[in-house]
Symmetry: C2
Subunit: 469 residues, 2 copies
């Protein structure tokens, strides 16, 4: 009797699961290997990938870019007015999230935020006037990313708005973000009612100067130790910033007291920060932007240096590909909605906050944040699985930020677009959900993914660049 | 051929592992069942256990005690001076941790703390005078537990010291603890140098009044939601209180600002709280004491209502057994030491803080605190295993406090001394380690266990009580 038939036979099936199912349906044993062709079978991308995989120039460039990313030492330095502080910010300019987009194509919440910023600046008397001005071409709309800044959701930043200044103690470079307004009706979700504008004015005139004084008294605040501790405390510093916000308040409160504000004004500043568990989000975003900017501009590098969404398009930038954006349609979000809202009310994926995932936080560090998974409709196992999956598409692990649930291994970070295309694994993103119409606000939160198409385009561009087709 | 021999044989071995090892050494298959005789083979305890197991009177009493424990609604109500506030507190009385103990038998750090308390009260001019006074019999030394109070480590509370007042909104009952002094040289670890006494005076004269005013302005602070959030943020609210302390500061800071202290005094108060990640510990202990007091005094109940150590003896109290203590020698601690110290320098197990384990926190909630396990020399798996193991000796799970790493199941709580004796599983305790001599302070932290002997004694006493031998 042939030896083969003395033991029971098994089948290993690679790829399409149906073949394995046929075997098991007939009573046999089949082990299914989860595999699919690179780039979902896109032939041109597959050929480019073959040329770029193992290319020593890319490996060296990525090593440099990744080291620069890890080497950033972000310090919260102070507060400035956007108009005076952001490089290249114009007098009649409003910044927005994501890749470039013109007023008519903007999604509802972004148009709402632009209307709100115009009213806040006093450039119009009501929403209709503001819309007319926005449509007139008299104002410049540019991405935050083009001005070393990032803003959550709509990301509207106008010249009078105060911005956080995060400085790289290693290089002196700076990155910026606006100040978080809290949940519910907020400009970043497209709301522009009187209470929204009033709060923004209070932030500008009362909170921001006090924070600036406090940071001056502290001589700045090193951010890596604070974020490292927050990850041990259940934050992924994108959709959950409860610990980081509390730790920030803990550091700032004594200095705020020494800023000698009137007691009631001080109490209101502390209360505002204490009541907003997302207060740290914008700082988290700015420190990610800073570290990724350090990695940007290394010729030949396939490391992704930005992922961002304007509500219509999802765009990425790549270290070795200069200031080009590689865009694809923004995805819908798989999430949980506040009572009375559903998927039909939702705007598409929006905001610069996916800079946190680009730096290894958010969805990449989901394993750190079991507290968040219920909110976005998952289990602690899903959270850990997301972080493990992201290891397949990243250059390495953080040397500063550990994930307790993964036995204190470093957060996966440094997305290599070759790995994304090869495994067809799209980066996972935790995000808030805005109403699709202007003026309403947040209606939920959930999970989404960066579209593979962005990475395929960028891969082909890198192939052009390096292999001169 | 007999059917038995057609398949391969396996052995199931219950109890002593050596029998199974013999089988596997000879090439056979043996499955080892981890079992040992109840009460480690103590015949009298085993007989008592047999009588008490399944006793309907106990089941009903435990159900009542456990429901009362879960039903407590602890509110941080304010601050008072121990002498005016603690029930039965005498003018020349100093309270200490653990079961009753006389001055000559006290361990080094407890004697040091008593010396410090005498100097703090101005009852003596130096340490020698203080020792002479302590030995003279003119002062009364009583357990904190006899005055509705708990204190970490030495637990020294003298009449002028401010105490937290935690009130049960469900029953109006109160429990108390002193205010945490921070790490390093501290009275609770037996240090009594000038900087220790100075800090205690500052706490009494500056910090405590401000905290009292702030809590008054807030109208009290509900503690269960705060602790529930802290467990999601990596605290087990015994050896790790980083999140709870930050959340408390977040709540208190605006009210402290409204207390209209001079700015520098306010800044110092905020700085002190911000710089002490154990600030919440004493509040945690008081809320545990309050909930366990609610469960205490149910005739027939085998639920443990206190576990505490005076550095010489470990003592427990049981709901159905009145005010009696059941003591055994305090254990040494398996821990990690600060540089320059080792096991030979360590005092034995000390402090009322094991009230947190009695209520289901600390070692019982280790699964919540992966960040702490390195500090006490373990892995995240050890942490989870500890929490799972404690399920075997507890009456149920908390309905308020969830452990994310156990899929958000409730913390195991309500120790049933029958279950402890039956499985010979000793409750696990996370703890700090004091130097064995007076005047030095903390030298490490680690894990210890409540001695089985306490539970065996209490079990026999309950058997006497119920079965009238």
């Amino acid at each position: 009797m042939p030896k083969l038939l003395e033991t029971s036979l098994g089948v290993i099936n690679v790829g399409l699961a149906q073949f394995a199912q046929t075997v098991t349906a007939a009573g046999g044993a089949a082990t299914q290997v989860d595999w699919q062709p690179p780039a979902l079978g896109d032939r041109a991308a597959g050929m480019a990938l073959a040329r770029l995989t193992g290319d020593a120039r890319i490996e060296q460039a990525n090593a440099r870019a990744f080291a620069a990313f890890l080497g950033a030492v972000p310090v919260l330095r102070g507060i400035g007015a956007a108009g005076d502080t952001l490089p290249g910010m114009g007098e009649r300019m409003i910044l927005h999230a994501g890749p470039p987009i013109e007023w008519p194509r903007m999604c509802g919440p972004m148009q709402g935020a632009i209307v709100g910023a115009i009213l806040y600046e006093g450039w119009a008397n009501d929403a209709d006037e503001a819309r007319a001005l926005a449509a007139s071409g008299e104002l410049a709309f540019e991405p935050c990313h083009h001005h070393a800044a990032v803003g959550p959701m709509a990301g509207a930043i106008s010249p009078s708005m105060p911005v956080w200044i995060v400085e790289d103690a290693a290089r002196g470079a700076r990155a910026f973000s606006n100040i978080n307004e809290g949940l519910g009706k907020a400009l970043r979700f497209g709301a522009y009612g009187p209470e929204v504008l009033q709060r923004l004015k209070w932030i500008e005139c009362s909170l921001a100067p006090a924070l600036g004084t406090a940071l001056g008294l502290l001589g700045g605040l090193e951010l890596k130790p604070l974020v490292a501790q927050a990850l041990i405390m259940g934050d992924e510093v994108h959709n959950r910033n409860a610990a980081a916000s509390a730790l920030l308040l803990r550091r700032l409160a004594p200095a705020l007291a020494r800023a000698r504000l009137p007691h009631e004004e001080l109490a209101q500043a502390l209360e505002f920060m204490a009541g907003n568990e997302h207060f740290f989000l914008n700082i988290s975003m700015a420190l990610c932007k800073l570290a990724l900017d350090a990695a940007h501009g290394v010729a030949g590098s396939s490391m992704v240096s930005a992922m961002s969404r304007n509500g219509v398009e999802f765009g990425i930038r790549v270290s070795g590909l200069g200031d080009r954006w590689f865009n694809a349609p923004a995805a819908a979000i798989d999430g949980l909605y506040f009572a009375g809202y559903g998927a039909n009310d939702a705007a598409r994926d929006l905001g610069d906050s996916s800079i946190t995932e680009t730096a290894g936080f958010g969805g990449f560090s989901m394993a750190a944040a079991p507290g968040i998974v219920k909110f976005v409709g998952g289990t602690p196992e899903d959270a850990t699985a997301n972080s493990l999956r992201m290891r397949h598409i990243t250059l390495g692990e953080s040397d500063s930020f550990q994930l307790p649930a993964l036995d204190f291994r470093g957060a996966p970070c440094g997305i290599d677009l070759r790995l994304v295309v090869d495994a067809s694994i799209e980066p996972v993103i935790n995000t808030g959900i805005a109403h699709r119409e202007a003026g309403i606000g947040q209606i939920g939160a959930g999970l989404t993914r960066a579209p593979l198409a962005c990475f395929i385009q960028a891969l082909c561009a890198l192939d052009d660049e390096l292999n001169g087709r």
